[in-house]
């Protein structure tokens, strides 16, 4: 089996996994969940870093830099804002 096919295999399994993971979530957690998954796609920061490391000309460096800034804001801001939301979910203190 070629590498492309294996990677595609992972992709297809991940689709089903994503559906399974969220299907039993109470609606009260939908906002934190959306915010949490939003932070997870901040992994695009890695992509930004990888292309910036390889960037040869000024335009590519500039665009790669912007991609890193955007990705970094997405990932750090995303996890922080989700944590801020979730730390407020407490049981009744008695």
């Amino acid at each position: 089996m070629s590498t492309e096919i294996l990677v595609f295999f992972i992709f297809v399994l991940s689709i089903f996994l994503g559906f399974e993971l969220i299907s039993k979530v109470p609606s009260m957690l939908h906002t934190p969940l959306m915010s949490g998954t939003n932070a997870i796609h901040g992994i695009i920061l890695l992509g930004g870093m990888l292309v910036l490391a390889d960037a040869g000309n000024t335009l590519a460096v500039a665009l790669g830099f912007v991609a890193v800034v955007f990705g970094s804001a997405n990932v750090f801001g995303g996890f922080m804002v989700t944590d801020r939301m979730l730390q407020m979910f407490k049981k009744k203190k008695k």
Binding site: L17, L21, H41, L50, A73, N74, G78
Partner: protein, 472 residues
């Protein structure tokens, strides 16, 4: 890639999966987020040895200007993210998610474009498979970027109403057709034509704007959720392009779970997703016509009298809505509920799945005000006991308690599951005016015999109620 890094990436994938899983339960949600965040940190560190190709590798050739820029960029992003995350008011949370999502989409589009340009210049050229993944990432990422900016602006209240004109869907269809044509051209014929690529990029940005503009503010949760899953897919496509498995796994998980979440939200509103995206809610004639002839009178009530009803009730159900968020009244709501609790009244909160601007928006606000989450009930859980409720206090909610969804076949919200507030013995509706909800239709609840309207700003009215309850 060494097998050590490969194993680390498997651990990262497991951390993400566990993180999302734990996010699904109130008890473990915070831990889930921390686990996913930890996974992200591991992924970041494990990527360092992979940076650069043979002659630019960080480990073999050392530091260069690009790495300085990278470090600076990460710090700038961290600062922007931290300021955004810690300064945003809880009521503005949906906008913040939209903004972060837009940034992620923009980054995905840039990564896709840069890889496209780099490979187009390289001697080996681009295979069809990679051309498709890169174009997909660029197209979806940039429309997610511009669409999120519009969603953000709408939620901020810069412009809330749907913007429509005749033939809009046709124009959008045309733009999309041109974009797809350009993609086919770029994949199949002249893979290095920069003009066509830039045109595709710009049109994708325009399409993101054109797609979200006609959608009303009330439907923004659905749009943000959809754009969130779009960004996930764009990130996964980038993962294919640059051969990074954690990006594929993370992006795909977000893409599929986000799609499901979008469908769940539409289901809660009893509307097919196509209707949300292309329907321009309320512009159809049917709903308006039905709204005119509502029987009954509106009966106002003063805070003192409302307080008496509440204080001597046995069971009270509070239905919060977007009005509570606007008035920032969640702390007053908690205070009133505590005060009633001290007097032996059983207070429960009924949360409609689409109350507010995002599903779960009300839960977040009430959690901020320290309302324990076991006092919050979902719609299905509370409706069967609504008949035994003495007072149902509706705070700034509108469409989600409109019995027209049950009674009026011609109503645009007909069939949407609602909280059956009208089944309570008395309903007190707190509202600023008789203005319509986001669906733009008359609320039959306001005209029912057992309904009393307490007009005024939610926060001011609640303060008056609290004072009056304390005095009785």
């Amino acid at each position: 890639m060494s097998s050590f890094i490969a194993l680390t990436f498997i651990a990262v994938a497991v951390l993400f999966i566990l993180g999302i899983k734990l996010l699904g339960s109130p008890r473990s949600a915070r831990l889930g987020n921390l686990l996913a965040g930890f996974g992200m940190l591991v992924a970041l560190i494990a990527t360092i040895p992979l940076l650069g190709s043979a002659d630019t590798s960080l480990l073999q050739h050392g530091w260069s200007l690009n790495y300085t820029l990278m470090a600076v960029g990460i710090v700038i992003g961290l600062v922007i993210g931290a300021i955004g995350a810690y300064s945003v008011k809880m009521t503005a949370m949906p906008q913040m998610v939209a903004a972060f999502n837009g940034l992620g989409g923009g980054a995905a589009a840039l990564v896709g474009s840069l890889e496209f340009i780099r490979r187009a210049d390289s001697p080996e050229g681009i295979t069809t498979f990679f051309a498709i993944t890169m174009l997909f990432a660029t197209l979806i990422g940039s429309l997610s970027f511009s669409g999120s900016i519009i969603a953000f602006s709408k939620l901020q209240g810069y412009f809330e109403k749907p913007h429509t004109f005749p033939g809009q869907n046709i124009l959008n269809g045309l733009i999309l057709a041109v974009i797809l044509g350009l993609c086919v051209y770029l994949t199949g014929w002249a893979t290095t034509n920069p003009t066509a690529f830039v045109a595709m990029f710009v049109l994708a940005l325009v399409f993101g704007v054109a797609m979200v503009m006609p959608i009303g503010g009330a439907d923004m949760p659905v749009v943000i959720s959809l754009l969130n899953s779009f960004t996930g897919l764009a990130v996964a496509a980038d993962g294919f392009t640059i051969d990074n498995i954690p990006m594929i796994v993370a992006g795909t998980l977000v893409g599929s779970s986000g799609t499901l979440l979008t469908l769940l939200m539409c289901k809660a509103m009893n509307r097919p997703v196509t209707n949300v995206l292309f329907g321009a809610f309320g512009s159809g004639g049917g709903g308006k016509a039905a709204a005119e002839g509502v029987a009954g009178n509106v009966k106002p009530i003063q805070a003192d009298e409302a307080a008496l009803l509440l204080a001597y009730a046995q069971q009270v159900v509070i239905v919060p809505g977007y009005g509570m968020a606007v008035a920032q009244a969640q702390h007053q709501v908690r205070e009133l509920s505590d005060e009633l609790g001290r007097r032996g009244v059983e207070v429960r909160f009924a949360i409609h799945p689409v109350a507010g601007r995002m599903p779960g928006h009300m839960n977040v606000l009430l959690a901020e005000a320290n309302v324990p989450y076991d006092q919050l009930y979902e719609m299905e859980a509370i409706n069967p006991s609504m008949d035994r409720v003495d007072v149902c206090l509706v705070i700034g909610a509108n469409d989600v308690v409109n019995p027209a969804a049950r009674e009026e076949k011609s109503s645009p919200i007909y069939g949407m599951p609602i909280i059956e507030a009208d089944h309570a013995k008395t309903v007190i509706v707190m509202k600023r005016s008789m203005a319509k909800g986001f669906a733009g239709i008359e609320n039959h609840l306001f005209y029912k015999d057992n309904t009393r309207m307490l007009f005024g700003d939610a926060k001011a009215s609640l303060n008056a109620l609290i004072a009056a309850v304390k005095a009785t």
